[in-house]
Symmetry: C2
Amino acid sequence: MRLFLVDDHPVVRAGLVALLGGEDDIEIVGEAAGADEALRGIAAHRPDVVLMDLQLGDGIDGVEATRRIRALPAPPQVLVLTTYETDADVLRAVAAGATGYLLKVCPPEELFQGIRAAARGESVLSAKVAARMMRRLRDPGLALSVREVEILELLASGAANREIARRLFITEATVKTHLVHIYGKLGVDTRTAAVTAAVERRLIRLP
Amino acid sequence: MRLFLVDDHPVVRAGLVALLGGEDDIEIVGEAAGADEALRGIAAHRPDVVLMDLQLGDGIDGVEATRRIRALPAPPQVLVLTTYETDADVLRAVAAGATGYLLKVCPPEELFQGIRAAARGESVLSAKVAARMMRRLRDPGLALSVREVEILELLASGAANREIARRLFITEATVKTHLVHIYGKLGVDTRTAAVTAAVERRLIRLP
DNA sequence: CCGCCGATCAACCGATCGGTTGATGTGCCG
DNA sequence: CGGCACATCAACCGATCGGTTGATCGGCGG
């Protein structure tokens, strides 16, 4: 099975090469530190699976890189392997066409099985990520709605209520209503605290 | 030269082992995913240099782990190898007794030389980190003062001006004055934007 | 079909924030 | 010694935010 690595850290790429060297059925056909390099390498080497970090060397992030890879004709499976487990990251990666989402803290064996499962086209979720998603499905009351996360991300960028309203094509009154709900769900009472609480709880991630 | 690895990511540890395997003068005598495990391993194997990540497996972070290691009798040199390059991280790590500060994105050769330099007791700074520190020294006007960073960190926790004033034993008026200066230096005009700008510019980092 | 939830909007009020002007003291560097 | 940066405080004003109450509408599930 042909594998392509995309990660901006030389140390991590070396680690993956070393770990996967012991797996005879997995062949690493190329690696890249950034999105452009990855797209060229994938076109040249036609891998079955791409192992993708979310923070990349060049300006393009892993989600956008995933989107572009999946837009290729007969695209490879993309398995995200990254440090973060925010709701926003996971949902965006899956929306961009990722087959699975693993964390770098996972034990090597889980990584191997994940790569093989991805090659078969199966969906793969790291235990921690899966738990987060299950909780999100089981207990939707505590989870923020999609709209509320949108508000939070604009909040994190420092936008005023009026600016948020303008960007989302709603009125300031609606923004305030959403904020009250967000405060309640996060257990805070100011916008700044909401941003840090959301970052801590991995609901959003700062750029 | 005896080296000990501390990093919570199995992939990164494998990568370091693989990369350093080619350097005959460097011998890896042990590794750990967390601070407690590291302290036990260091006591047992007596390395010359400890390669330390800042985000660790257990509750203790790399800065605190560094402090504890440097408090040992005849302690090893501690070389920080991490993803982040915030002012706060670097300054805290150095204050805790770190000999050097390298980034995981650095090329392997720089890492090798850094480890050897650390073993000789020399200070090591990654090029990006060094540049940031130099800028901080050369152009103190653009850098935030220590007091302003304190304000920023409380800001990031969501504290209101009154709360910040109470925690720092100053009046609300003074807090507002500091905020105006901070806004000016960061080029923003709201507290929330100041927090995200500070995080983006690596002046502070969220917990 | 009816209830619940999410999303939308309105009007109001007090509290907080952003911005300005002006002032004082301290410590450092040339 | 004379700046200069930093930290501290005061008073003021308009803008924004936080909180509340109440309302409409569409979709989804029992």
